[in-house]
């Protein structure tokens, strides 16, 4: 069994600018464009004048997570960021500037901000982290793979602490956005930023990342969940499934029927559909007051691959 990786802090920024359980609101349509200047002032504390919206999302989420950490994060904290669409608004802005009938030259600031790793740079700069810094952009599994790599670093002893997030922005209008990410008609397009501080130390942990697993093709999801429950669930421990972006309602029903006692928590109803929504869903489990238990996040990508993420929320 893999060595445990502990969660020391978490923060989820939702599409309304929501950061606490009290502020979370279910979406009943696409959220309006999110203005983050006030949140940046309140949480980051320094203006991010030329930063993109994606950078703002990443900065607010990561800094909030660090503020919730009960001790200062060391300089040697690695940063992993997952993002499915990355700097989609800035890339589109640069495209429109340089392609006909645009003016033909790129704005220097837009060009710099269109770099897909700029959000991870700002996260490191604001945290004063001079360590590993990786941006993973693998659609629905951007966050899961970033989490997998982060956990592997901790388990290998390469780092004692990691800041890991999943961040994506939406773009307007919806019809344009849907050319980049497939969403059902009834599925609001979301955006957000979910962050975890992971550590090898058990002391002061609020939870545990048990495993992030790439499920072999041909393995039935129900079998994957049964195995997870058999190995990891403690007696009487509440068990909850977090269905990811590509897990359809019919499959959720089937899984719930096959696993007695399984609760289902629909976090997508609060953050909307985006590639790294899993980061929001998992980080929001730690919104105070957190409900302890074993949480299994199941997701799939457009090629039919499946990944499972198992998290335990400790009794506060």
């Amino acid at each position: 069994m893999p060595r445990p990786v502990y969660i020391h802090a978490a923060a989820a920024l939702g599409p309304h600018g929501d950061i606490t359980r009290m502020e979370r609101r279910a979406l009943n349509g696409d959220p309006p464009p999110l203005e983050l200047k006030e949140r940046v002032k309140e949480i980051v504390g320094v203006p991010l004048r030329q930063a993109s919206h994606l950078v703002e999302l990443a900065a607010v989420g990561s800094q909030l997570c660090l503020k919730r950490l009960p001790y200062p994060a060391p300089e040697n904290t690695a940063v992993y960021l997952g993002t499915g669409l990355a700097e989609v608004r800035k890339n589109e802005a640069v495209f429109r500037q340089v392609m006909p009938p645009g003016p033909g030259l790129a704005s220097p600031f837009d060009f710099i901000n269109a770099a897909n790793n700029m959000a991870a740079f700002y996260v490191a700069k604001l945290g004063n982290f001079r360590a590993r810094n990786l941006t993973v952009t693998q659609e629905e599994f951007s966050f899961e793979w970033a989490l997998h790599l982060a956990a592997a670093d901790l388990r290998a002893g390469e780092y004692r602490q990691v800041l890991i997030g999943g961040v994506d922005e939406n773009s307007h209008p919806r019809i344009g956005h849907l050319r980049r990410i497939a969403l059902r008609d009834d599925q609001p397009m979301g955006e957000g930023s979910g962050w975890l501080v992971l550590s090898a130390a058990a002391e002061r942990a609020c939870g545990e990342l048990i495993e992030v697993k790439h499920v072999a093709r041909g393995t039935e999801p129900v079998q994957t969940l049964r195995d997870a429950v058999r190995i990891w669930r403690r007696p009487e421990e509440p068990l909850t499934l977090l269905p990811g972006l590509r897990i359809e309602a019919a499959e959720v029903e089937q899984l719930a029927a096959a696993l007695p006692g399984l609760r289902v928590q629909d976090y997508l109803g609060f953050c909307g559909g985006y590639h790294t929504a899993a980061a929001f869903g998992i980080a929001a489990l730690f919104d105070a007051p957190a409900a302890p238990g074993l949480f299994l996040h199941l997701n799939r990508d457009s090629s039919g691959r499946t990944m499972l993420c198992a998290v335990r929320v400790f009794q506060p």
């Binding site: 700069k125 590993r132 290998a156």
Partner: protein
């Protein structure tokens, strides 16, 4: 810890299809600079680029997947594998972005329909998924986007997957195409040298952008069998500035140092350095400071190869590894094309003459925007 053997290399560059074409050009001292014909730019006569021949490939966005698969087939042929050997392999791709593919799509649509239609600018992870599907890869598929260190980081991530025993084989791809966006952006930042890349030269004034695809097939293996090996590496973040390095080169030095530790080596073990050597004032100043600080008086010979291949941005990790290792296998170290006049402020100078390939470990450095740095160490048999 299992050794990681480099089983196969593939390259599509401005020299043509295949590692051998690039090696041949570099041995002859020919740069791969070409005319820019893919599109036109208002400052076209003031830049140098490396464009590959697009004739063998389909037009539009489909071009990218075909070129990637061409490079992969070369790597598989060297390893004497067919696609079935990749079923449980990992595919790790590095690129700065696929904006160039969106542009290609736009130009193709405009040319064939007369309609200027904004392309979807699809997610960066799409190409890796398509390639994995085409090759029947069921293992992990990841895309890294960390600017100019993207595919060097892809090599590091693949190394981790192999060392941990998550996979036995990993195919690492670096891909970058010429784009109006990148050339215009670097032009706006006044970072393109009208005379092309002149690494570490006193008159250097910027980059020479190129396009290329590199493929590196890695496999865990017993080091006793001989061959070429990826010994290890490191990635660190320089938080000094979004686009420029700490002038004292401290984070570059730390990255190289960590890479040596990861590979179980000392500075004195390094026989050659392939510098990042972009030809920009900032990069080369910081990189020279870093090399001086780490190696002191025992600085091994170093070379820069971006005038040959162009700065292929996110692809340069895999592309320059494939090209340099190709040269080493052919028995030589390419000199630093574009370097003619030492910069007294740097206090060091790169190789100006080809020399025989050394026997010891070789360091390869890659430093990108967003302070994203990677350093790799390889051993050549």
């Amino acid at each position: 810890m299992a050794a990681i053997r480099i089983r196969g290399l593939g390259l599509v560059s401005s020299y043509g299809i295949g590692v051998a074409r690039a090696v041949e050009g570099m041995r002859a001292g020919r740069t791969g600079i070409t005319p820019l014909t893919l599109f036109s730019l208002p400052f076209q006569d003031r830049i140098q680029v490396n464009q590959f021949d697009h004739a063998p490939f389909p037009p539009g966005a489909a071009c990218t997947t075909t070129i990637v698969e061409t490079a992969i087939q070369e790597a598989l042929a060297e390893a004497q594998f067919d696609n079935t050997g990749l079923r449980d392999a990992a595919l790790v791709l590095g690129t700065s972005s696929f904006l160039f593919a969106g542009e290609a799509d736009y130009r193709h649509t405009l040319a064939t329909t007369g309609q200027a239609v904004m392309p979807p600018l699809e997610p960066p992870g799409q190409v890796a998924l398509r390639v994995a599907r085409d090759l029947g890869i069921d293992g992990p598929v990841l895309t890294l986007t960390t600017a100019c260190s993207s595919s060097a980081n892809a090599l590091l991530v693949a190394t981790g997957l192999l060392r941990r025993g998550e996979v036995r084989r990993a195919l690492v791809i670096g891909v970058e195409g010429l784009s109006v966006a990148a050339l215009s952006g670097f032009h706006s930042l006044m970072l393109l040298d009208p005379q092309g890349c002149r690494p570490f030269d006193a008159q250097r004034s910027g980059l020479q952008i190129g396009e290329a695809v590199g493929a590196v097939l890695l496999e865990t293996d017993d080091a006793a069998h001989g061959g070429d090996f990826l010994l290890g590496g490191a990635n660190l973040c320089d938080i000094h500035h979004t686009t420029s390095a700490s002038p004292d080169g401290s984070t570059m030095r730390a990255t190289m140092e960590m890479a040596l530790v990861d590979a179980g080596l000392e500075p004195a073990d390094v026989s050659l350095i392939k510098a990042h050597g972009t030809g920009s004032l900032d990069n080369d100043t910081a990189e020279a400071a870093a090399m001086r600080a780490l190696f002191g008086a025992d600085l091994p010979p170093f070379t820069g190869i971006k005038r040959y291949l162009g700065h292929t941005l996110g692809a340069c990790g895999a592309v320059e590894l494939a090209a340099l290792l190709g040269c080493l296998r052919a028995g030589f170290v390419p000199p630093t094309a574009g370097f003619t006049q030492p910069d007294a402020a740097l206090r060091i100078a790169p190789l100006t003459e080809a020399r025989p390939a050394p026997a010891g470990p070789v360091m390869l450095n890659f430093f990108g925007f967003g302070g994203n740095y990677a350093s790799l160490l390889i051993a050549h048999a």
